[in-house]
Amino acid sequence: MEMFTQQMINALIIGSFYALIALGYSMVYGIIKLLNFAHGDLYMVGAFVGFAVLSLFGGGTGLLGVVVAFFAALLFGGLLGIGIERVAYRPLLSSPRLTILITAVGVSLVLENGVMKSFGPSFKVYPVQLPTEGFQIFGATLTYAQILIILLSVLLMTALHLFVTRSLYGKAMRAISIDHAATSLMGIPVTRIISLTFFIGSSLAAASGMMAGMYYGQISFMMGFIVGLKAFTAAVIGGIGSIPGAMLGGLVLGLLESFGTVWLGSEWKDVFAFSILILILVLKPTGLLGENVTERM
């Protein structure tokens, strides 16, 4: 029982990280049909921005420092996302999808190597570790920091969900994902909405990276690679292009991975996760919540 509960807690945390990154994957795929393979690196960049800001504060970082670092990571990640789209993807929007996909891989390499050059190739210890106080629940330990991570993730995802379903800009995003040209005929500035999408998706990944840095205590320039692929898997499980799907997919992957690790051993963790990706692609390519909308003409 206690192991079950502990794995459940792990699953929720890791699932939240995956879900936050998967959202950006899914939003960008939805709006310009690009699998943005540089997206995982925004998570890494977010962790490093947090690292840099916290280091500026020195040893005595209080809660204020953490909050400042968190928002710095959000903002920097978002602006970087806008910049990447503007420089690397927008000029290629009308080229074949493969061109832009390869460009995304290139952007990923630029980000990874850029951070490696700036911060060095070794693991960095995060300046602020999360407090380990907590309480026992069914024999497992749940720390306040874990609760905070889960709550913050839920808050961010709820805010995004409300934005996309209720606000006019959110509806414009969904419209663009259906038909670019028709959306521009509504007087909607399509390129600006695409920028906004990149900002939101990238800042969510960066927020996730900052939280992961504090949670795991160490970061590296390659940390976004495998997590990015996992988030992609999560997005596919949920149904790529679907926002609730990305959230669900992240959670499902977190659960499968946590319990898979118990049964198979942690060295099989990645094999297990990517086997699930293949299974989904073979059995239900539209994912759990993805759907093919049938339209009458």
């Binding site: 006019l168 509806k171 414009a172 969904r174 419209a175 259906i178 038909d179 040209a181 028709a182 959306t183 521009s184 005929l185 509504m186 007087g187 909607i188 500035p189 399509v190 909308v293 049938t294 339209e295 009458r296 003409m297």
Partner: protein, 238 residues
């Protein structure tokens, strides 16, 4: 009569095809102008060039005295030209109401106007009101055409461009759609209408243009055009 829209010697390419070769036409205040021609003559490209989806390579397009030739599509909508594209292009996964809300995007800072216009559209198309919460993709073709037109009205157009509003619709629905076009025009909105159904279009329009392989070959008052022997032979025969 003052003129709303004027195209002068407009050249445009559609992909590699030289689709418009020096097209000149005008739409006057309060009128319906019909643009006729066979498949591939460049009718849709003309509308797309006006709305900015296709960039003109030469010539000029003026709207209410302002040069709009090189503006982005969303800027052109802000100025008041709304283009209802061929095949309606409603957002199938969004609800009818959401489609209409998006049509009012340029008026988002004026919620009172949007509310008023939404009521007007629902009054004009009662069937959209009944189906407000339904996904647009589940509507029939005629209802989708009504939605596309209602969506266009949401931004307070000063010129409405309709591309093949009758396409694929049953004759009785076409009649209904054309009646509404006349009604919208009677409320003071000029219309540029592209139609395969030349007979019905000329009945509705004040002015007619005939487009052949990217060039205007004939223009006249619609009632005169419908008696023109060449037109009758080419477009109205059956």
């Amino acid at each position: 009569m003052s003129q709303i829209l004027e195209l002068r010697d407009v050249d445009a390419f559609y992909g590699q095809v030289h689709a418009l070769r020096g097209v000149s036409l005008r739409v006057e205040e309060g009128e319906i102008a019909a643009l006729l021609g066979s498949n591939g003559a460049g009718k849709s490209t003309t509308l797309k060039t006006i709305s900015g989806l296709v960039r003109a390579k030469g010539g000029s397009i003026r709207f209410l005295g302002e040069e709009i030739t090189r503006l982005d599509p969303h800027r052109i909508v802000e100025l008041g030209i709304v283009h209802v594209p061929e095949g309606r292009r409603v957002f199938g996964a969004l609800t009818v109401l959401e489609n209409l809300e998006l049509g009012g995007f340029t008026k988002r800072k004026d919620p009172a106007f949007t509310k008023r216009t939404l009521e007007r559209v629902m009054h004009l198309f009662p069937r959209l009101n009944e189906r407000a919460k339904q996904r647009a993709g589940t509507l029939s073709g005629g209802e989708q055409q009504m939605l596309a037109m209602g969506r266009a009205l949401m931004s307070d157009p000063k010129l409405l461009m309709l591309d093949e509003p009758s396409m694929g619709l049953a004759p009785i629905i076409v009649k209904e759609i054309f009646k509404i076009v006349r009604q919208i025009n009677a409320e003071g909105i000029p219309v540029l209408l592209v139609e395969q159904n030349a007979k019905a279009a000329l009945k509705l329009a004040h002015q007619g243009y005939v487009l052949e392989t990217g060039q205007i070959t004939l223009q006249n008052r619609a009632d005169l055009l419908s008696q023109d022997e060449k037109i009758v032979k080419a477009y109205l025969a059956n």
